[in-house]
């Protein structure tokens, strides 16, 4: 006599055996501990309650999802019992329905996600107004019980958000720069990513174009023109500068071949930097700008300019700081350090301490007057921890002090302190100060990332590079830095993404970039009080920018074979 269980098994199982010990299942998955039972009761109640409430607001979707869930759960259970999974139910069993909790949570989460997405679509599209006329927008929104988004605020102010106060008659400059950078970018993506172009002249031409792009875009955006009446002077100065650079080129080649050493490379680099600064200074006397960057640059334009400058400028600086911090060069000898400290201490003791002692009225004042002894303490610490290595000392102090203050502090200092430090009469625009401050800030963080990468290179690489005869510069350029930077690409790109978004802090120091414009929109009479929509737009822009950077970095890593070679 077959039991009802066996006959059920036969009928349902279609001949396949069902292995199910219901007692054991309940014992292990439901009543194992009272916490588990309690949790499952709560979860089941929440799921049912949420499903019913969602059913009221979105009947079709909820019904569909619940139906699909029920069917797939049933199928998975059936397949599990008969031990014959197809790929879909196997995946479901392993990923979504692996336990009772997970099964219920799957339904809950899918419904939750659908609710969130629908709420957003509802707010942003269904109940929203896309009109750019304030009155019309009000009329449209008044139709709904809960008004949606007022996109008119963003659409009407699109030009403000993008370029803020850039003069309308000069807009062609923006389009020119955009097209130029776009074409260059498209060409580079094609040429740089292919192996067969590795040493092609086309690639070198493109690299040349990228090198002049900063100056070119700056010149285009602010309209650099010769001062009227000084065109001839400009041409003469240009010739002088070019001749000087050519002479410097051959001179540096001569010096480096005669005295190949790290000191000479350093001297030559300093000479080149000085020469370039002098050239710019000399030429700038004959050039003038049509537009003032402080006024003309705003909105997304300013964000991009500051972010790109900070990213591009901080990278070489950060690498140099990292190398400097790790340098092993012979330092200042001990006798020189202590000697200089002793001389300074003696001088200040004679000049400051002794008179202060005479005037002192308390122990505290006497102790404070002994400050010149700190020179000796500093000398001792310098010798002990840096072995007299000035480069490492400077790099460490720079990195640690910049990392110790927030970006906003650095920005404020740059805006306020800079003018005090400059010689009288010399003015630097806020835009430049902020750009330089952001670059210097990022360089400190980047230096630590690169230093981590340098530490990851095995010592054998340095030795092999030495053994085959490469000098220090070649060793770092060809062997060490390529490997080190490949290793820390994720950290560096993360740093850049953070920097891109940190440009929003500049709104606090007075420059009006993207966030600044977004804040101003709600103060306009047309769009008074409309705050949410500009921020949503900002969110989209920053997300897109970050996404583009992150995916480019993934592609770059793949092409460089990071983690594979």
């Amino acid at each position: 006599m077959t039991t009802w269980r066996e006959s059920l098994q036969e009928r349902v199982g279609n001949g396949r055996e069902i292995h199910f010990d219901s007692g054991r299942f309940i014992r292990e998955n439901i009543t194992k501990s009272w916490i588990q039972t309690l949790w499952l009761i709560i979860l089941t109640y929440l799921t049912i309650a949420y499903t019913i409430s969602q059913f009221r607001s979105l009947p079709f979707t909820t019904g569909f999802v619940t139906l699909v869930w029920l069917v797939t759960v049933g199928l998975t259970i059936y397949n599990e019992l008969t031990r014959s999974h197809n790929p879909m139910t196997l995946w479901l069993k392993n990923n979504l329905y692996s336990s009772i909790t997970n099964t219920l949570l799957s339904l809950l989460l899918v419904l939750g996600i659908i609710a969130a997405v629908w709420a957003f679509i509802d707010y942003a599209f269904v109940r929203a107004s896309f009109s750019r006329i304030p009155e019309e927008a009000q009329a449209i929104l008044a139709q709904f019980q809960t008004p949606g988004a007022n996109w008119g605020a963003v659409l009407d102010n699109m030009r403000n958000l993008m370029v803020f106060r850039y003069p309308r008659e000069q807009t062609w400059r923006l389009w020119f720069v955009l097209v130029y950078v776009g074409v260059l970018l498209a060409g580079s993506t094609f040429v740089y990513s292919q192996e067969r172009f590795r040493r092609h002249w086309l690639r070198q031409v493109l690299t040349g174009f990228w090198l002049i792009t900063p100056l070119l875009t700056f010149g285009l955006l602010v309209g650099v023109v010769p001062v009227p009446g000084e065109t001839i002077a400009l041409l003469i100065n240009l010739l002088i500068v070019l001749a000087g650079l050519v002479v410097l080129f051959f001179l540096s080649r001569l010096l480096l071949s005669r005295f190949p050493s790290l000191i000479m490379s350093f001297v030559v680099t300093v000479l080149w930097v000085a020469a370039l600064i002098l050239s710019v200074y000399r030429l700038s006397n004959n050039l003038t700008t049509i537009l003032n960057p402080d006024i003309a640059w705003g909105g997304l334009l300013l964000t991009l300019i500051i972010a790109v400058f900070a990213i591009v400028a901080s990278f070489p600086l950060g690498v140099l700081l990292a190398l400097g911090r790790r340098s092993q060069i012979r330092g200042v000898p001990a006798w020189l350090t202590y000697g200089a400290a002793a001389v300074l201490a003696a001088y200040y003791i004679y000049n400051n301490t002794l008179p202060a002692f005479a005037r002192a009225s308390s122990i505290l004042q006497q102790l404070v007057a002994l400050w010149p002894l700190l020179f000796l303490v500093i000398a001792y610490l310098f010798q002990k921890y840096f072995r007299g290595n000035v480069v490492a000392l400077f790099c460490t102090i720079y990195i640690e002090s910049i990392r110790g203050v927030p970006l906003i502090t650095v920005l404020f200092m740059s805006i306020i302190l800079f003018p005090i430090l400059l010689p009288k009469g010399m003015e630097i625009l806020s835009t430049w100060r902020v750009m330089v401050a952001a670059a210097l800030f990022a360089a400190a963080y980047l230096a630590e990332n690169v230093r981590g990468g340098l530490q990851a290179i095995p010592k054998g690489q340095y030795e092999a590079a030495d053994a085959i005869g490469l000098n220090t510069f070649q060793k770092y350029r060809l062997i060490i830095l390529p490997q080190a930077i490949r290793t820390v690409i994720p950290a560096i790109v993360g740093q850049f993404i953070g920097l891109f978004k940190d440009t929003t802090l500049i709104a606090i120091v007075g420059l009006v970039e993207l966030l600044g414009v977004a804040n101003l929109i709600s103060a306009q009479t047309d769009w008074l009080g409309v705050r949410r929509e500009p921020y949503i737009f900002l969110m989209i822009i920053y997300f897109t920018g970050s996404w583009v950077m992150a995916s480019s970095s993934r592609r770059l890593e793949k092409r460089l074979g990071v983690g594979e070679r």
Partner: protein
């Protein structure tokens, strides 16, 4: 301590001595790693340095191309004194090639780039010339087909042979081997030793630190036994293995020849 001058140096001129070290001392902090090493190597000689671990063999070899600095004594390589002068060091490193125990290939470059890197940047050859010479040496060591692969895709023996090709493409006069086969399994050891044997017969001056006794016995012109930072014994291979002079050497040979 047997000095090389005991053998028939009367007929050899000073110009034939490619490496001469006299009373070389090196300290690592307080640890006295090299205690007065004096050695002369003639052109074309194959010298194998044996010794227990910690005896200073690798340290001594690495002093010759300035991967380590010696504090006392003099090292002269092909007429150039080894000191703090960067130009001297660069000159010596151009003529002295080194093969490491851990291969130390550059993982981000292809095999061909690994081999042509130094000739292009140090000897200033054109890319075509460097590649032609590189392919010649890669063929000589037996792996021309691996030229466009990355080191990570090669086996240990192949990597070590690429390292040897990288050294040879620079056309050095002196080759230093720092336990080249210690990181390889027995089958690959033979590949590398065959290459080293060929190089020895072609007239390169070779200083090898190795534990391969068979290689030492058959290929070496002189065997140097070091212990605790000093040269304990210098001898020809036959005499060294059959009739060593020093007690310490006998102890060492007893230990190793009974595997």
């Amino acid at each position: 301590m047997a000095t090389t001058n005991a053998t028939n140096t009367n007929t050899l001129t000073r110009a034939e001595e490619v490496i001469s070290c006299s009373e070389v001392h090196k300290w690592y902090g307080d640890f006295h790693a090299l205690r007065g090493i004096s050695l002369t190597v003639k052109k074309g000689e194959v010298i194998v340095i044996l010794g227990p671990s910690g005896s200073g063999k690798s340290t001594f070899i690495r002093c010759i191309n300035r991967l380590e600095e010696h504090q006392q004594g003099e090292i002269v390589v092909e007429g150039t004194t080894l000191n703090y002068d960067v130009r001297n060091i660069a000159e010596i490193r151009r003529e002295v090639g080194m093969v490491f125990q851990q291969f130390n290939l550059f993982p981000h470059l292809t095999v061909l780039d690994n081999v042509t890197l130094a000739p292009i940047h140090v000897r200033k050859w054109t890319r075509d010339h460097a590649e032609e010479r590189a392919m010649h040496w890669l063929t000589r060591v037996g792996i021309p087909e691996q030229a466009n692969k990355y080191p990570g895709q090669l086996s240990g023996g192949q990597q070590q042979r690429v390292a040897i090709a990288r050294t040879l493409t620079m056309e050095p006069n002196i080759l230093l081997f720092d336990e080249p086969t210690s990181a390889l399994d027995p089958e690959m050891i033979k590949e590398v030793l065959d290459v080293m044997r060929d190089l020895a017969t072609e007239g390169y001056t070779i200083l090898a630190v190795t534990h391969e006794m068979g290689f030492a016995r058959t290929v070496a012109d002189r065997i140097i036994f070091m212990d605790a930072g000093q040269i304990v014994e210098e001898n020809t291979p036959e005499n060294f293995f059959t009739n060593p002079n020093n007690e310490r050497t006998k102890l060492f040979l007893n230990q190793i020849l009974h595997h």
